[in-house]
């Protein structure tokens, strides 16, 4: 069946319909990861958006249900060049077609995804419609497209009730340590599939209790902490600070999530309260943006965002560059940052935008990228260990200043802003909406 992607600017792509049969209007974004389409689909941060994969061959290894990052796919639509006819992987449960259909996600295949990406790059993220209906008069739909906003999506994606992810008590529960997996023919023949390998080699978080604020958390955030021995309690996004603190967590983790951080007004209020406690806080993505807004900083929308698994981020404490997994459309405005509150901890090597903050005099540390990977590089997984360390030191009664690590970072921040200037022409920045 024919399908169409109509963009806010009037561009129309004609392709083939895939997935569920329905018409959707959404914000169109692109992701450059070459593998990991299922993790992208099940990342709640994509709520309110339709994702275009720039890699043209999607569905090659089908869907391995255990790789889902949440209970269902969140994007409103899925846009690909080609869906594989025959998936092939030893863990493949169903095909991507089936997955989309069963979960009610419509999509379009067979369009020039590279051309679409270029349009989004040039003109910025825009809204669009995926439909099987051939509209004769675009004027009929364009106003509807322009009117669309993602709105308060966090409330849609967060869990309804708090729940606990139990700590790993024995390393073997995590699956084999990466590199030590052994094929077992007998188990294979009996239909057993070996667990995904894990990079965790020690239960350094044993005995620690983490409160994870679910703004649309990817499953691997809780898993990464639990695999290190932390007991993780996941709270719905609108849980009050008092309620969280009542459970006396050793640390608080603010998760990733969808939408414009400035829409989350009540959450920001709660985070402000958390900030004023002595509980160590680590935040990822939306959590990082919300913490910055809670402490007086500003965020703005990037022209077309960072979505993919190849973004270099520099740890300003060490100068080391890590390749990171990213998915964000908004970013903290480092120019307007009050450096007595927080100092930059990471920056993006490509465009110089902020990728992390260390809070002055506080045991609070936040990053814009995704150390939990899934999909994407696992290079920054060490940050979970840093968080565990923050909690342990606090527990031992130490007064931790996250910015101390970046104490000599004054020079670094300057060089960072020079880097920002260097790439000024290419600034992936748009108007603050």
């Amino acid at each position: 069946m024919k399908a169409f992607l109509i963009l806010e600017d009037g561009t129309v792509f004609a392709g083939t319909h895939i997935g569920a049969e329905k018409e959707v209007i959404s914000e169109i974004v692109f992701n450059t990861s070459m593998a990991g389409y299922l993790e992208v689909l099940t990342d709640p941060s994509y709520a309110g958006q339709a994702v275009c994969m720039t890699y043209p061959l999607i569905g090659n290894y089908g869907v391995c249900l255990e790789d889902m990052e949440s209970l269902k796919p969140w994007p409103d639509g899925f846009i690909v060049r080609e869906l594989s006819r025959r998936p092939s992987n030893f863990r493949c449960d169903i095909s991507i077609q089936q997955f989309l259909e069963e979960n009610g996600v419509p999509g379009i295949a067979g369009i020039d995804t590279r051309a679409l990406t270029q349009i989004l790059r040039e003109k910025g993220t825009m809204n669009g419609m995926i439909t099987t209906k051939e509209y004769e008069n675009l004027e009929e739909v364009l106003p509807k497209l322009k009117a669309y906003t993602t709105g308060k999506v966090v409330e849609k994606v967060t869990c309804k009730e708090k729940y606990v992810v139990n700590a790993t008590t024995d390393l073997s529960e995590n699956g084999p340590i990466s590199g030590s997996a052994k094929f077992d023919k007998a188990k294979w023949s009996a239909g057993e599939r070996e667990k995904k390998p894990s990079l965790v080699k020690e239960l350094n978080g044993a005995g620690l209790k983490v409160a994870l604020m679910d703004f649309g958390a990817k499953a691997n955030i809780a898993k990464s902490l639990a695999a290190r021995g932390c007991q993780v309690t996941v709270y719905p996004a609108l849980t009050t600070a008092e309620e969280v603190l009542r459970d006396a967590p050793d640390g608080i983790m603010l998760s990733n999530g969808p939408g414009d951080p400035k829409e989350c007004t009540s959450i920001i209020q709660e985070i402000k309260k958390l900030y004023h406690t002595e509980v160590p806080i680590f935040a990822i993505c939306l959590g990082h943006q919300l913490m910055s807004l809670a402490t007086g900083a500003d965020t703005y929308k990037l022209k077309y965002g960072h979505r993919g698994g190849n973004h270099p981020v520099k740890d300003l404490a060490t100068g080391r560059v890590y390749i990171s997994s990213q998915n964000h459309g908004y970013v903290v405005d480092v120019e307007k940052l009050d450096r007595t509150v927080a100092i930059p901890a990471f920056c993006n090597v490509n465009d110089g935008t902020n990728e992390g903050l260390a809070y002055v005099g506080k045991n609070v540390f936040t990053v814009q990228f995704h150390p939990e990977a899934c999909p994407g590089p696992q290079d920054s997984g060490y940050l979970f260990d840093r968080f565990i360390d923050m909690m342990k030191r606090a527990k031992a009664g130490e007064k931790v200043d996250a910015a101390a690590l970046y104490g000599n970072a004054q020079g670094e921040t300057e060089s960072e802003s020079t880097q920002g200037e260097k790439v000024d022409a290419d600034k992936n920045e748009g108007e603050v909406r």
Partner: protein, 1066 residues
């Protein structure tokens, strides 16, 4: 970290002559790295024995030594040039080994030379088998478990710990005899017992069998600050068991989920960090197809063939970045040359699919086994880019130039399903065609996967292609079907064949419906950032990013495709130089080529690069968009010449020598007319199509005769026939492939072979120098030792050659380059062959005379005269030194290949010896080709009767050098009779000790074995030559070569120290 200020003079080691496994990719990497170093103001001292390379150009390096790559020579160069650093990671394994030897002997420390890039300790850890294994164990990265055992009990006990199947490799047996794969204890006991008995030292290596696992590679970069990135990962379609150089490879990996992808990526980064590599590195993994189990197969701590492929596949210039890292920069300080905005510390995101197919030499070595194993056999490769796998595969297939354009090109339709099941078990270069036929015969994808272990995803893609073939055959050719076939990159002629229409009809239907190729850009970032480097590939369906540029005049330079025997790196040298010369003359340049190993496909050589197959249809699609003012075909070898007619039909003017004149040189009758006009003699001959006609001509001329197809390069299919029976045999071989052009049968003349390359401006010519071959006629010019200046021919002959060259060039209206081969017999000169285009010897003669003839030819093509270019026409004054080009072979890599030299070219590469005296130049040339004698001073002679006289003279000279000569019966008798002491040895079939025992005893320096005229079918001779080659003994099959060798050794006895020549100063 900024640039290290202590690095000012860097010596770069090249990889030497092109051999199988070490080819043009190192010229690409080396050239890019040298340019990157010079960009930083570093002085570059280059050493490489290979004159056909671009890296040995004077504008690439400051000092250029085309000298043998031995430790001694490098030491001398270091003493002379006093570099502060040495960069050994660009010259392949050869360069790396030399760097290590220099470091380990303490020579570098003694001379205050730093090893740049990766350290010696790192190289040892990566290259030493045991060191590597220990390191991997320490960091928890798995290798295939293995153990050397001496008893069956130990073998069983060890296997119980690692599980079946296991590979058994007895130590010290030839060609792995006595080894095998054991799937259970019974098999293990049987094979192990046998293996232990056969092994001379009673040892067998028991190794976990990983054959059939997925083979995945990661290209990784790391800087001195410890920043690591992966440039690209690649998946071999052929599972573990086939050398990655012989595998069909796809980038990025297609069948790995994010979990496997990241697991292996993290492992690769861990390994490169642990090894503390600074620069580029390749990590190969075997991944179990149905679990997360994997093994690290190998790590290459240097640039490699895979890194060249990864560079072209992603646009990330690995060698360039590696050179900058070697100077001390970190990845986040190096700009991405494609986006010019992002930095080198990012990972390329691909939005297309890349397929590489190896170019195997079985068309040259028809007796060789086509089986693919862990020993690489490919001489080159092609790469293609498309937005779907099917299209990339189809494009790669037709890029091979092996008379294949689709999955029907090898016809297996006569085989039944059961026969196909058997055939599928054979792992050779035709496997994907067998799979296609198996699918057509209804064998299930699962069963094919079961037999071949090739992932079902790839098999299903092949099935999609066969289904499209079927649809084209059986369904009405609607625009929709046509568009879909084109999306999968079916060429028009294949669609025509399948649908029973004419190619022109298909093309017309396509254009009517707007089904045209569009071009997308390789930009390293999947369109996320704006890119500035126009590096394009075609797809069907979508928007076109390639824009017709205007303003400047525009020239299309057609590349030479995959490296193969007969058409090597020399033509890439010519294409690149022509491109540069056109650019200098103010032209916009466009290169079309499909070889990922070459300099010409580097994104910053031409103004635009189209990475596309070199077929008429593919070129037309580009011409439709670019509308070039002209095309130049004379630099791209036969590949480009073949496109001439097509280009003219598209209305693209051919710059330089015209197509009709190229035809005149190839067409027997037209050429005879020209010879008659110019009164230039040639060997009598005739043109034929059938064996009957050939025999008739041969008998009229009298045997021996030379038989060859026209319009080929490298003497493909050329043979000397001495009888009707041989004519029949050779004609059958030639006619296996339908010939568009007649076959030539010439009287075989025996004399001195002489060769010239010249530039002609239409009126006058310029000959940089005359080259003389050491071997008499009958050995292909590419396989002959070539001497400049010609030293045994007199002025009279030289004048005649100059005169004939001028006459022929003018008669053929040559504008640009011409290559002519002559035979000199007494005072007579005969023409053998005229090629009005660039030739194999162009880089060599340019470098040794210092006359840049490709640049001159380009200027001439653009209208300048030789005089205007500042040259006095005619033969240029001779140099005051000798420069000798030595062919280099890769026989040891191709099992079953006949190694004796003949009219068909067999060498894969060449090296140069340059010196004041003939003998020293000769010695250097032999040394450069790996003949480093004497060692044991033992030799074997077994020559045909006609050569006995010369054998005596040569034997006597070897005897004088202290050689002990072993000879077979009649050769020994002849030698002894003449007073040259020779020990008689038995033939293979006789009792021990036989000639074979001697060779296997590893105490022989050289075997001189001249086969009987024509094709030697004598098993003994063939076996002797093969065994020698496989045990590393030098084999010489022509008396002239033997004489040259003994002369060079005599020279060595006289002086040990070699004089070094800086070619950049010539």
């Amino acid at each position: 970290m900024p640039k290290n200020p202590n690095v000012k003079r860097v010596m770069v080691i090249g990889s030497g002559p092109i051999v199988i496994g070490q080819a043009a990719e190192f010229d690409y990497a080396g050239t890019q790295a040298c340019r990157s170093l010079k960009e930083e103001g570093v002085e570059v001292i280059l050493v490489n024995s290979n004159p056909a390379t671009i890296m040995t150009d004077r504008d690439i390096a400051d000092k250029v030594y085309i000298e043998p790559l031995t430790v001694k020579v490098l030491e001398q160069i270091i003493e002379k040039e006093q570099p502060d650093s040495i960069l050994p990671t660009l010259g392949g394994q050869a360069g790396l080994n030399l760097g290590m030897e220099l470091e380990e002997s303490g020579f570098l420390a003694e001379h205050h030379v730093t090893l740049l890039g990766t350290t010696a300790a790192t190289i040892r850890n990566a290259e030493g088998r045991q060191e590597f294994k220990d390191l991997m164990e320490r960091i928890g990265e798995p290798c295939a478990a293995s153990k050397v055992v001496e008893t069956v009990e130990d073998g069983i006990a060890f296997t119980d710990t690692i599980g079946y199947p296991v590979v058994l490799r007895p130590a010290y047996t030839l060609g792995g005899s006595g080894g095998g794969i054991a799937h259970n204890q019974t098999e293990l006991e049987e094979i192990l017992e046998n293996g232990l008995r056969l092994s001379r030292v009673g040892q067998v290596l028991v190794e976990r069998c990983i054959a059939g696992w997925k083979e995945i590679e990661y290209e990784v970069m790391r800087d001195s600050a410890g920043n690591c990135i992966t440039v690209c990962n690649m998946e071999n379609i052929d599972p573990v068991g086939v050398h990655t150089g012989d595998s069909i490879v796809v980038a990025p990996s297609q069948t790995l989920s994010d979990k496997e992808y990241q697991m292996l990526r993290t492992s690769a980064l861990k390994i490169i960090s642990e090894l503390q590599i600074t620069g580029g590195c390749n990590v190969q993994f075997a991944l179990h197809p149905t679990s997360f189990e994997y093994c690290v197969i190998e790590v290459n701590p240097r640039v490699s063939r895979s890194s060249a492929l990864a560079s072209k596949a992603t646009g990330y210039p690995i060698a360039k970045v590696a050179a900058k890292i070697a100077l001390g920069y970190t990845l986040d300080e190096i700009k991405n040359a494609i986006t010019k905005k992002t930095y080198a510390s990012f990972e390329p995101a691909l939005d297309y699919c890349v397929v590489k197919i190896p170019r195997l030499p079985f068309d040259k070595f028809i007796t060789a086994k086509r089986t693919l194993t862990t020993q690489m056999k490919a001489t080159g490769e092609v790469m293609s880019i498309c937005d779907n796998f099917e299209g990339a595969l189809m494009k790669a297939i037709r890029s091979l130039e092996q008379h294949v354009d689709c999955l029907r090109s090898y016809d297996f339709s006569a085989l039944s399903a059961d026969e196909l099941r058997e055939r599928l078990k054979v792992v050779d270069d035709q496997r994907i065609w067998v799979i296609a036929e198996a699918l057509r015969k209804g064998i299930s994808e699962e069963e094919i996967n079961e037999i071949t272990k090739i992932d079902i995803w790839f098999i299903d893609k092949i099935a999609i292609l066969t289904e499209m073939e079927h649809a084209l055959e059986t369904e009405e050719l609607t625009p929709e079907l046509l568009a879909e076939a084109k999306r999968m990159e079916f060429p028009d002629n294949v669609i025509a064949r399948l649908s029973g229409k004419k190619e022109s009809e298909i093309t017309a239907l396509r254009y009517e419906n707007g089904i045209r190729a569009v071009y997308k850009m390789v930009d390293t970032c999947a369109a996320e950032f704006e890119a500035h480097t126009p590096y394009y590939y075609s797809v069907y369906g979508g928007f076109c990013e390639a824009k017709r540029t205007s303003g400047k005049k525009k020239v299309l330079v057609l590349g030479s495709g995959p490296i193969r025997i007969g058409q090597g790196i020399e033509f890439d040298y010519c294409s690149v130089h022509a491109t540069w010369a056109f650019a200098k003359a103010g032209y916009e340049t466009i290169i079309i080529n499909n070889n990922p190993e070459t300099v010409s496909t580097d994104f910053d050589i031409a103004d635009k690069l189209y990475f596309e197959p070199l077929t008429i249809e593919d070129v037309r699609s580009i011409v439709d968009i670019e509308k070039p003012d002209g095309a130049v075909v004379q630099f791209g070898g036969q590949t480009a010449i073949k496109l001439t007619q097509g280009l003219m039909e598209m209305g693209v003017p051919i710059l330089g020598t015209q197509a009709k004149d190229v035809d005149a040189a190839e067409d027997r009758e037209l050429f005879d007319e020209i010879l008659e006009q110019t009164k230039i003699p040639r060997a009598a001959g005739g043109t034929v199509y059938t064996a009957e006609e050939a025999k008739e001509v041969a008998n009229r001329l009298g045997y021996p005769v030379l038989v060859r197809p026209s319009y080929v390069l490298g003497g493909q299919g050329m043979q000397i026939a001495i009888s009707d029976a041989e004519i029949e045999e050779f004609m059958a071989v030639i006619n296996r492939i339908a010939q568009d052009h007649p076959i030539l049968v010439d009287k075989y003349l025996m004399g001195k072979e002489v060769e010239v390359d010249a530039v002609c401006d239409g009126c006058e010519i310029l000959i940089p120098g005359i080259m003389e071959h050491i071997e008499r006629t009958g050995v292909h010019s590419g396989d002959s030792i070539s001497v400049y200046p010609a030293h045994t021919i007199g002025k009279l002959i030289k004048d005649k050659i100059t005169d004939y060259t001028e006459k022929l060039a003018k008669a053929l209206h040559v504008k640009g380059l011409i290559n002519i081969q002559f035979i000199a017999i007494g005072e007579d000169v005969y023409v053998i062959e005229v090629n009005p285009r660039s030739s194999r010897t162009v880089p060599y003669i340019s470098k040794v005379t210092g006359i840049p003839i490709v640049d001159l030819a380009t200027e001439v093509i653009l209208g300048k005269t030789i005089r205007e270019l500042g040259y006095e026409p005619g033969l240029q004054p001779e140099a005051k030194y000798y420069a000798i080009k030595m062919p280099v072979f890769s026989f040891e890599k191709i099992r079953g290949a006949e190694i004796s030299l003949g009219p068909e070219m067999k060498s894969t590469g060449e090296c140069l010896g340059i010196a004041k005296t003939f003998n020293e130049a000769l010695y250097k040339a032999f040394l450069g080709s790996g003949v480093n004698l004497p060692k044991y001073r033992n030799m074997i002679m077994t020559v045909k009767d006609a050569d006995k006289g010369e054998a005596i003279e040569i034997g006597r000279r070897f005897e004088k050098l202290g050689y002990t000569i072993y000879a077979t019966r009649s050769t020994a008798a002849a030698l002894n009779e003449a007073g040259v002491k020779a020990r008689k040895v038995n033939k293979i079939s006789q009792e021990s000790p036989t000639v074979m025992d001697l060779i296997l005893g590893h105490k022989i320096d050289v075997v001189i074995d001249t086969p009987t005229q024509g094709r030697d079918k004598h098993r003994d001779g063939f076996l002797i030559r093969r065994t020698s080659i496989e045990t590393g003994v030098n084999v010489i099959t022509a008396m002239d070569t033997a004489r040259a060798l003994v002369s060079s050794l005599e020279n060595k006895e006289q002086s040990e120290k070699l004089e070094l020549v800086d070619v950049a100063k010539l």
